[in-house]
């Protein structure tokens, strides 16, 4: 007896997997970690703002400084280890090279121009155009900067080399803030793109 799938696929051929399971898991765990880290981080920022504004209390997590710090220092393990696992899997499965290489300034420019003219296609979800590659590589780098600057803010005495690389304790706070702002900027853009091409969301949930 044969079991028929509901999708009209070519006989005997399974639909191609866009995202392997480990990638989808790390993606959604990362989404949760980012939500916890950003909203609790805003509350911590409010305790001693770097700029002439603070974040509305209603969108912050933790209720008060102590609670926000508890959330932040719990979420950091998820963010850090999930991110590390993602990066290592990308490198060792060859996905990093396969998906994000080559990446050239010229290519980014061409694809960006095409995108702005509405001529950039995203029919094959397994293939990332140059703008996507640049954005994903950037956000990986940004995540690393977030973790490293966060380590300096958390333990500036215990990580002297990192502290000097970040320009000292006070500068590390600015680096941490700017890296957060970049991440939030990426998330906004990322969500707009998902809204424009909804099948990418299905693929990130089902894998196909």
């Amino acid at each position: 007896m044969t079991i028929h799938t509901e999708l009209p696929q070519v006989a005997g051929q399974k639909p191609a997997t866009v995202h392997p399971l480990w990638l989808r898991l790390t993606h959604w765990l990362n989404a949760l970690a980012v939500l916890i880290m950003v909203t609790s981080g805003w509350q911590i920022y409010n305790a001693s703002p770097l700029f002439d504004f603070d974040f509305p209390r209603s969108i912050t997590l933790g209720g008060w400084l102590g609670g926000a710090i508890q959330w932040h220092f719990a979420g950091m393990w998820l963010f850090g280890f999930n991110g590390l696992f993602y990066l290592l899997m990308n490198i060792f499965t060859g996905r990093m090279k396969q998906k994000f290489w080559p990446l050239t300034p010229r290519g980014i420019f061409n694809d960006l121009r095409a995108a702005l003219r509405g001529k950039l296609q995203h029919n094959d979800l397994r293939h990332y155009n140059m703008v996507q590659r640049a954005a994903y590589v950037f956000v990986m780098f940004d995540g690393i900067v977030l973790v490293l600057s966060g380590l300096v803010v958390w333990k500036s005495v215990q990580f002297p080399l990192l502290r000097e690389l970040m320009g000292g304790f006070d500068t590390a706070r600015y680096v941490h803030f700017l890296a957060m702002a970049s991440l939030v900027g990426f998330v906004v853009l990322h969500l707009v793109m998902v809204a424009l091409v909804p099948k990418t969301l299905i693929a990130m949930i089902r894998g196909r």
Partner: protein
């Protein structure tokens, strides 16, 4: 305090009832600790309900969320103890980089800082030490003093550079024959503040029993007659107006720590 309540309750009620009453009493005590803050803590915890549904955990039970976060905070204490370098020094700065005026910071207004009578003052030693004699201020001033310009980092994120002088705390602990293998050193202060630190930090070469600020006798606002100054810990771990130093293996927490701040509080 909780133990006293528990004992007295056990005397009055049967064992089965007493457990429930102790639980209720504990809740009352916790509620009294900065009630508005704690309410907000729970309230904001609830807003995370949406996320929780994605993960399938029940986050609506706020007590268990708080317990879980508290456990992770304990885990972070252990990680920080492990990361701590007992000889790794905090950066020192030239006096020209000092923050002027150095900010006042406490859980009360500057005018409410305790006024300690320097003549009547006696530092008390308790717990695991051979010599528990009380110390007068002149006796403390006579000890060999050092000074250092270091950065005070507040849990809120701001920082300020100041110059503290006094007796290296490790020297003081050795002098009074403290059990250096004890786990904690805890402090009771004239402003009702209390905190405790790990022995490794107590013995760190930059940990000072600070008696002066910027070359002058420690002003009231910065903790007269004495504070513990640790550049390897956040501000709230640095107790001011110290009256009692206890060397102990018993975990005694701290004023802010009991409300949720991380106990190790290292920088």
């Amino acid at each position: 305090m909780k133990n006293i309540i528990k004992k007295s309750i056990v005397q009055i009620f049967s064992t089965s009832d007493s457990e429930a009453i102790v639980q209720e009493a504990k809740k009352q005590i916790i509620r009294e600790l900065d009630a508005p803050s704690r309410r907000l803590f729970l309230q904001r915890g609830l807003t995370l309900g949406g996320i929780a549904m994605l993960t399938g955990c029940d986050i609506s039970d706020n007590a268990s969320v708080e317990t879980a976060l508290g456990k992770i905070s304990g885990f972070n204490d252990r990680v920080q103890g492990w990361l701590f370098g007992s000889t790794r020094l905090a950066p020192v700065y030239p006096e020209s980089m000092m923050t002027r005026p150095f900010p006042f910071n406490a859980f009360y207004a500057e005018d409410d800082a305790p006024e300690v009578d320097g003549l009547a003052y006696r530092l008390k030693i308790a717990g695991l030490a051979l010599d528990k004699r009380e110390w007068s201020l002149p006796a403390l001033y006579k000890m060999a003093q050092v000074s250092q310009v270091t950065r005070h980092i507040c849990v809120e994120g701001w920082s300020a550079i100041g110059k503290w002088g006094g007796v290296p705390f490790g020297d003081f602990l050795r002098l009074i024959g403290a059990d250096l293998s004890a786990e904690y050193v805890s402090f009771k202060c004239a402003d009702e503040y209390y905190t405790s630190i790990d022995m490794a930090t107590a013995l760190h070469p930059q940990t000072l029993l600070a008696l002066t600020y910027d070359g002058e006798i420690l002003p009231r606002k910065y903790g007269f007659p004495m504070k513990l100054r640790m550049p390897t810990k956040l501000g709230y771990k640095n107790p001011k107006h110290i009256e009692v130093i206890e060397i102990t293996n018993k975990f005694t927490g701290g004023y802010w720590e009991d409300q949720g701040y991380n106990w190790f509080g290292g920088s």
